[in-house]
């Protein structure tokens, strides 16, 4: 099947700015889904609010565009009610680490079989370029005109600390890597957290004088390195990419099903 068969082309053109990284992640996600040949009626996407959340409208999945930060909580209900579903949850900075931070850590703790994708662009894009919990100190934003003083969350460490059993990171420059990691994430039984660093040229790039999409993606290429690589060993200041954790722990829906089997009248 072609990737375009997974798209609701009736609703195009999409709302994203020229040069935005979200379309790259959408493309990689659809390739991953296509290559895995998943049952189409099992495909669900639950999203929150923001630029990233709009992905759910464009895919031909069962799609639930919910409230800011609440995607994982809604997805938990959906998955528990029908565990056979393949549930994808794309989230932005705010969805995953600010207003939805509590839902994020608890979904990780439960180890429920959901594929969470954090599109980290270090900014609130849809509302016009305010700093986020992923911006880090020294960033210019419309709500940080004198540069931000807040430390950033490290999504990988946050997810691992909260108990996620599959944790990975890549960037929008590494398109093939996104699809490969997402395939592994989908096949993983339990919660999978895949962070994708994406460019927001409109607000983050322009405001911080980094440049357009090409310059930001070049930054991703130069400032990241695969886990276990010689490049990373020699340059420990680089941001590591790859799979940080892949372990087996009882999955939440299966554990619940075991209770039902035990006590059912």
């Amino acid at each position: 099947m072609a990737v375009k068969d997974y798209i609701r082309d009736r609703f195009f053109p999409h709302i994203w700015c020229p040069g935005c990284g979200h379309g790259i992640v959408l493309n990689a996600l659809l390739h991953a889904v296509d290559e895995l040949a998943l049952d189409r009626s099992s495909l669900c996407m639950v999203s929150g609010i923001g630029c990233s959340a709009r992905i759910s409208g464009y895919v031909g999945f069962h799609s639930m565009h919910t409230m800011h930060g609440r995607a994982l909580a809604c997805a938990t209900g959906l998955k528990m009610a029908r565990p056979s579903l393949n549930v994808f949850v794309p989230m932005g900075d705010g969805d995953a680490t600010a207003i939805g931070g509590n839902h994020f850590i608890h979904a990780c703790r439960r180890n429920i079989d959901i594929t969470a994708i954090v599109l980290n662009n270090q900014i609130y894009g849809m509302t016009g370029g305010q700093y986020s919990p992923l911006s880090g100190p020294g960033i210019l934003a419309t709500t940080a005109p004198y540069r931000s003083i807040d430390a950033a969350f490290d999504i990988v460490n946050l997810a691992m600390g909260a108990g996620a059993t599959f944790v990975a990171r890549t960037t929008s420059f590494h398109v093939k890597e996104i699809a490969d990691l997402l395939k592994k994430a989908v096949l993983h039984k339990g919660i999978s957290v895949v962070e994708v660093m994406v460019q927001c040229p409109t607000y983050f790039g322009r405001k911080n004088k980094i440049g357009g999409p090409v310059e930001i993606m070049e930054y991703f290429r130069e400032h990241t390195a695969p886990l276990g690589s010689k490049k990373l060993e020699e340059n420990p200041e680089l941001i590591p990419r790859g799979i940080f954790r892949e372990e087996t722990r009882p999955e939440y829906c299966e554990e619940y099903a075991a209770i039902v089997t035990r006590v059912r009248e």
Binding site: A73, G77, A81
Partner: protein, 400 residues
């Protein structure tokens, strides 16, 4: 000897139960659980909060036994969100809470209104605002139940004054939620939630149980999830089924896709409001006592209606022409019903445990608002018959 006791004889259990009704001695909160299961509850998400916690505790025990899902979420917000997700997957879904938790759930209640997701939210009211009186009774959430979530919308709010009524109104709540694809709020109070009384559990089939209406559109044919039928109902399709469509809290078209087109926005908001407000007469549930010739009418709901009824029976036995109307549907407010039932009353006394939230509505509904009087208690103590009697005597000019 109750049927519940005789029914315990091994081997004869099934036969006895078929012949006689199941009788239990339970709390209101447990009656709510039994009613929900009777109505076909398949999913509950909650977070512990007094005085509604027993609902979660009973369901934690009973739902897995029936193959349903119980989950304790990380907070009140997540519980309401999980209910929305589960309902889209086709499960009859419910959450339960009280004051502060009800405030937190408002965001996702609005989502359920907008996305037309059937669900039931129980609020066992306690004193407020804020943390208020966690273990004491109040009825201060009448207006919040109607207007707690932002934006124009409509919603159904039901209540009850006895353990038996809680069971039946809970079944009704699910029926209305599933029929009209709307959140339904069961607005109980601490007294009825915690009070123990006899519950006669109806046999399956005795009470009507409504199920969701499903689309007959075949796979591969365009299904319009948000195109209402002429009767205002939306035929559903579950997530995981053959039709894949979009659900959103944004204004949306018949595909469920976001739109800002003024015509479509207007059409949707009118649909959301009209599907409930135009059915106020169908959704009205109430009880009435001695209204035919009543000079003085008490209007009440929830636990104060019990005190009102006690007083009315007492004064009737002395020949006084007093009557009672007990509302079980609070929203949409049955204004026409209230106007008709109180048309010949000299005085109307609204007995409630707040600063006059329903009293305001009654004043708007009746012919002579100057003869509507609030009888309330807002000190965490149940409104008792003497409280109502004192105010009535004063207004009737019979001394204090």
């Amino acid at each position: 000897m109750s049927a519940a006791t005789t029914g315990k004889t091994p081997g004869k259990k099934a036969a006895v139960q078929a012949a006689e009704p199941e009788i239990r001695f339970v709390q209101g909160n447990e009656a709510c659980v039994r009613g929900a299961l009777y109505a076909g509850l398949k999913f509950f998400a909650g977070y512990p909060i007094t005085p509604s916690t027993e609902i979660a505790e009973h369901l934690a025990e009973l739902l897995p036994r029936k193959g349903g899902v119980f989950i304790q979420m990380e907070d009140e917000i997540a519980s309401m969100c999980a209910v929305c997700g589960a309902s889209l997957a086709g499960s009859k879904a419910m959450t339960a809470t009280s004051g502060p938790g009800f405030s937190l759930k408002q965001e996702a209640i609005g989502y359920a209104c907008m996305a037309e997701i059937p669900c039931v939210i129980v609020n066992v009211q306690r004193g407020g605002p804020s943390t208020g009186l966690p273990t004491k009774v109040a009825q201060g959430d009448v207006m919040q139940a109607r207007w707690g979530t932002h934006g124009d919308h409509s919603i159904v709010v039901l209540t009850a004054s006895s353990v038996q009524d809680i069971f039946e109104i809970t079944v009704e709540g699910f029926n209305i939620a599933e029929t009209y694809r709307t959140p339904v709020i069961l607005l109980f109070d601490e007294v009825v939630g915690h009070m123990r009384e006899k519950l006669v559990v109806p046999k399956q089939g005795e009470l009507h149980v409504a199920d969701r209406l499903y689309t007959e559109v075949k796979p591969g044919v365009n299904y319009h999830p948000y195109l209402p039928r002429e009767d205002g109902r939306l035929p559903s399709s579950d997530f995981g089924g053959v039709h894949r469509y979009n659900v959103t809290g944004l204004f949306h078209d018949i595909f469920g896709f976001p739109t800002e087109h003024p015509d479509q926005v207007s059409k949707l908001i009118y649909h959301l409001v009209d599907k409930i407000e135009n059915r106020a007469h169908l959704l009205a549930r109430w009880k009435e006592y001695y209204l035919e010739d009543a000079e003085h009418v008490i209007l009440s709901y929830g636990s104060p209606a019990r005190s009102a009824r006690h007083l009315v029976e007492n004064r009737r036995s002395k020949g006084d022409r007093v009557g009672l109307i007990e509302l079980q549907t609070i929203w949409p407010f049955p204004a026409q019903l209230v106007r008709e039932k109180t048309a010949h009353a000299k005085n109307i006394f609204v007995a409630e445990m707040n600063m006059g939230q329903v009293t305001t509505l009654v004043k708007q509904a009746v012919v002579n608002p100057n003869r509507v009087f609030l009888v309330n208690r807002v000190d965490g103590v149940m409104l008792n018959p003497q409280d109502i009697g004192r105010v009535m005597r004063t207004i009737e000019g019979r001394g204090f």
